[in-house]
């Protein structure tokens, strides 16, 4: 499952363990899908292959890509120089891959790129087809690109973008691929997100932006704090539903310990899922229960609109929001594993873009979040920096 050893090539692309390939196993970092070979491949893989890139390896992820940076993987975490990183970021950083294409579910790709000093782009929701990705949080998850620099990230992203009639959330072609670049002149820093060590990186970036003649203004951004709470609820509910299909009947892990169908279900799932997945499933299930649906889940869906409207207001005045990506600038695998709910806390930073589907670009350890369809503008700025 780790990155295969092949000859280095400028056209090598690594895809993560949430993206289906037919010649390599796709396991979602889970014992449940250990060795699972899909009968079909992801639309992104097809597009890359057709454009002459080589999808040469699969990068390990945490189970269903829910965690901080891969620490919950059935295959174990990846560390570089004693700190936790993602396998995708490591493949790019080492130069083995020109870029990594990953399914961003809960922020691990953004964090992996930020902490490795790479460029990462999460495009507008619906501009890259999710056909052939392992569903986890369908209303927000997005196929993303990590590369050493903004130009490469853009090249690869523009290769995989495009309408797909096999994905009911895929936007029309003219909305997927566009070249319009709007110069970024005014950037907001939300005080609400300026907590933790990541804030120091934002301060560095502020200086760089000012040097470029870009105006940086502090705003309160109180509504953005709601994003974390709403996202954690929506993410858990959808994940619960999406992983219910893994039950030991059709494919994947089946427990040897069963006599009845309920034992087959329960023991297969209990033995194959890690603790984080189990927690998310149980919490998500509760948010959807008859008693809680309107109080919790439906409420979170309404808050999603509140956040989108708040973002729209900010983007009416500013071209982008500058924010940290994580609360710390490095983590060890040990500390991530010791706190199984660390991703629920760290979602503070990634939730605004995840819950609203707007694009985000990570560069120099910080993220720039822009309005829908602004990824080319954000990447152009990242390239300039």
């Amino acid at each position: 499952m780790y990155i295969a050893e092949t000859e280095k090539s400028v056209k090598n692309i690594v895809v993560d363990d949430m993206i289906l390939t037919t010649d390599m196993a796709t396991s979602a970092g889970s014992r449940m899908l250990d060795g699972y070979i899909s009968l079909f491949e992801a639309e992104a893989v097809t597009k890359l292959t057709e454009a002459g890139y080589k999808v040469y390896a699969k990068a390990n992820t945490g189970e269903f890509n829910l965690d901080l940076m891969g620490e919950t993987s059935f295959y174990g975490p990846v560390e570089a120089d004693g700190v936790l990183t993602t396998a995708a970021a490591q493949a790019v950083k080492s130069g083995d891959a020109m870029a990594a294409v990953t399914l961003e579910v809960n922020g691990s790709s953004a964090r992996g790129a930020a902490l490795a000093g790479l460029t990462f782009v999460k495009p507008t929701y619906g501009t890259v087809s999710r056909f052939g990705t392992i569903p986890a949080v369908c209303s927000g998850e997005t196929v993303c690109v990590t590369a050493a620099d903004a130009a490469t990230a853009k090249e690869v992203l523009w290769t995989i973008k495009g309408h797909s009639d096999k994905d009911g959330t895929s936007l029309p072609q003219e909305k997927c691929v566009f070249d319009e670049v709007k110069e970024i002149k005014k950037v907001a820093v939300a005080k609400s997100l300026m907590v933790g060590e990541g804030a120091a990186k934002v301060e560095e970036m502020k200086a760089k932006l000012s040097a470029q003649g870009i105006e940086v203004v502090e705003i309160d951004g109180e509504e953005l704090l709601l994003a974390k709470s709403a996202w954690n609820i929506l993410m858990s509910a959808e994940l619960c539903n999406n992983v219910s299909k893994y039950d030991g009947v059709k494919y994947g892990y089946r427990t040897p310990n069963y006599e009845t169908i309920d034992q087959l279900y329960t023991n297969s799932r209990t033995e194959a899922f890690g603790y984080l997945t189990k927690s998310v499933v149980l919490f998500g299930s509760e948010t959807l229960s008859e008693d809680n649906y309107f109080k919790v889940y439906d409420k979170a869906q309404r808050i999603r609109r509140v956040i989108c409207e708040a973002l729209a207001k900010v983007f009416g005045e500013f071209d982008a929001i500058l924010a940290p990506v994580s609360s710390k600038l490095s983590y060890t695998a040990e500390e991530a594993i010791a706190n199984p709910y660390i991703a629920y806390e760290e979602s503070l930073y990634i939730a605004p873009a995840m819950i609203s589907g707007v694009p985000a670009v990570v560069t120099d350890g910080v993220q720039l979040v822009g309005p829908a369809f602004s990824e080319s503008s954000l990447l152009a700025l990242a390239e300039k920096l």
Binding site: Y36, I37, L39, F40, T124, Y125, G126, S139, G140, D165, T169, L171, L225, L226, S229, A230, N232, I233, S236, C240, S244, D247, G248, V249, K250, Y251, R254, Y258, E259, T260, I261, L264, Y265, T266, N267, R269, T270, F273, S279, V281, L282, F283, S285, E286, N292, K295, D298, K299, A300, Q301, R302, I303, R304, R305, V306, P340, Y341, Y344, S356, G357
Partner: protein, 93 residues
Amino acid sequence: MDIKTLERLQKLNQLKLTEEETEKLMAFFETAGKDAEILDTVNTENVERMVYVMPMTNIIREDIAKKLFTRDQLQEQAPEAMDGYWQVPRLVD
């Protein structure tokens, strides 16, 4: 969050936690429950729920049947299959 609810949730989701895990999860539910409390403070009476971040309508297809894969291909990774069926323990009822 009480033990009974947690037990019902485990049954509903076909999972079984150890005692230690159950205790840890109780604490988590307390924390995660705060997310719900935070949202509760916002008045959303006149806010419509948002299911789709990039809403569209009528993404539909024509009624044309196609065969993508054979049964053998689909059952290649089946834990147990017999005579072209997936196989599970005998169900009562």
